[in-house]
C-alpha cells in the first residue's frame, strides 16, 4: 500500500485516494478542429512508462482535491506530490529505485 502525500492534508493511506491516470495532458484548444484520429490520440492514448511517471490523484475521502504525484511505476517509489499548476519536483538522477 502506498502512503501518498496530499499537498493539503499531508501523508495519508492509499485507500483515501482515487487514481486519475497520466498527468499533464492538455485538452486541445479547439476540439472541433481535430480529426477523429487526433481526438482519439488526445482522449485515449497514454504513455506506458516504466520508470518515473507523473500521474493525477484525487484525495476523494479527504479534501477532494486533485493533485499530481511522481511515482516510479516499477518500485512504487514516490518522489513527491505537487498541486495542479505547480512545477513537478526534480527527479532523482538514478533510473529510480532499482530493485
Amino acid at each position: 500500500m502506498l502512503n501518498i502525500d496530499c499537498p493539503w492534508c499531508g501523508k495519508r493511506h492509499e485507500t483515501e485516494f482515487r487514481y486519475g491516470g497520466e498527468a499533464h495532458i492538455a485538452r486541445p484548444e479547439d476540439p472541433a478542429k481535430l480529426d477523429d484520429a487526433e481526438w482519439a490520440e488526445f482522449l485515449f492514448m497514454r504513455t506506458n512508462t516504466k520508470g518515473y511517471f507523473a500521474e493525477r490523484w484525487l484525495h476523494s475521502h479527504g479534501c477532494r482535491r486533485w493533485f499530481n504525484v511522481i511515482r516510479h511505476t516499477v518500485t512504487h517509489e514516490i518522489v513527491g506530490s505537487y498541486k495542479m499548476g505547480e512545477k513537478p519536483p526534480k527527479l532523482p538522477k538514478s533510473a529510480g529505485g532499482a530493485k
Binding site: 493539503w8 492534508c9 499531508g10 495519508r12 493511506h13 485507500t15 483515501e16 475521502h61 479527504g62 479534501c63 477532494r64 482535491r65
Partner: protein
Amino acid sequence: MAETPWITPAAIAETFPEGLKELPPRAQVNLRGSVTDSAFTDAVKAGTGIALPDTPNKTAAGTDFKALWLSPDEWLLVGEGEAASLVQKLEAALSGQHVAVNDVSANRTIFELSGPHSHPALMKSSEFDFHPRVFAPGDCVQTLIAKSQAIVEQTGETAFHIYVRSSFSRYVGAWLAEALAEYSVAE
C-alpha cells in the same frame, strides 16, 4: 408511534457500551468561499465570530458555531443552534459574493466516542494516525472509519466526534460498539 427505522443507530443504541453515544442532531452548514478574500472571511467573522481556519484539518470556535476545515475553500459549521437562521444570516452577510451556503444538517450523524478506550478503539477502526503526537484537541480529519468516509474531530483529550453519512450510521455505530466491547470486560 412509528417503529424505529432499522437503518438508524437508535435501533441498536441500547447495545452501545459506555463511551459511545449518538449525539442529538446538530445544525450543520456547509460553507464555501475563498479564504484569501478578506471580504468573505471578515463577513463570516462578523456574523458568527469564527475566524475560518486556513490550516488544513483544524477547527475554530465561534459564538454559537464552530468551523471544521474540509478543503481549501470549504468548511463545515456545526452547532446546537438553528441551521436555517445561520444560513439566513450568512446569506445576508455574504450577498453578492461568490460563495455557497448550504444546510446539510441531515447529511451526517454524529457519534461521540469518549473515555480512556476511545484512542485504541479509533486506532483499530482507521488507517489514519490518531496518536496524540500528531492529532490533538482542535484537530479534525476526513478519513475512513471502518471503510466509511467520516469526519473525525477531537473535542477533548480522550473525546472524539465522528461524523458519518446517515445511511452508514447504523453500520459505523455497530462497528464502534464492537470496537469498544473488548475494553468493557470486567477486570
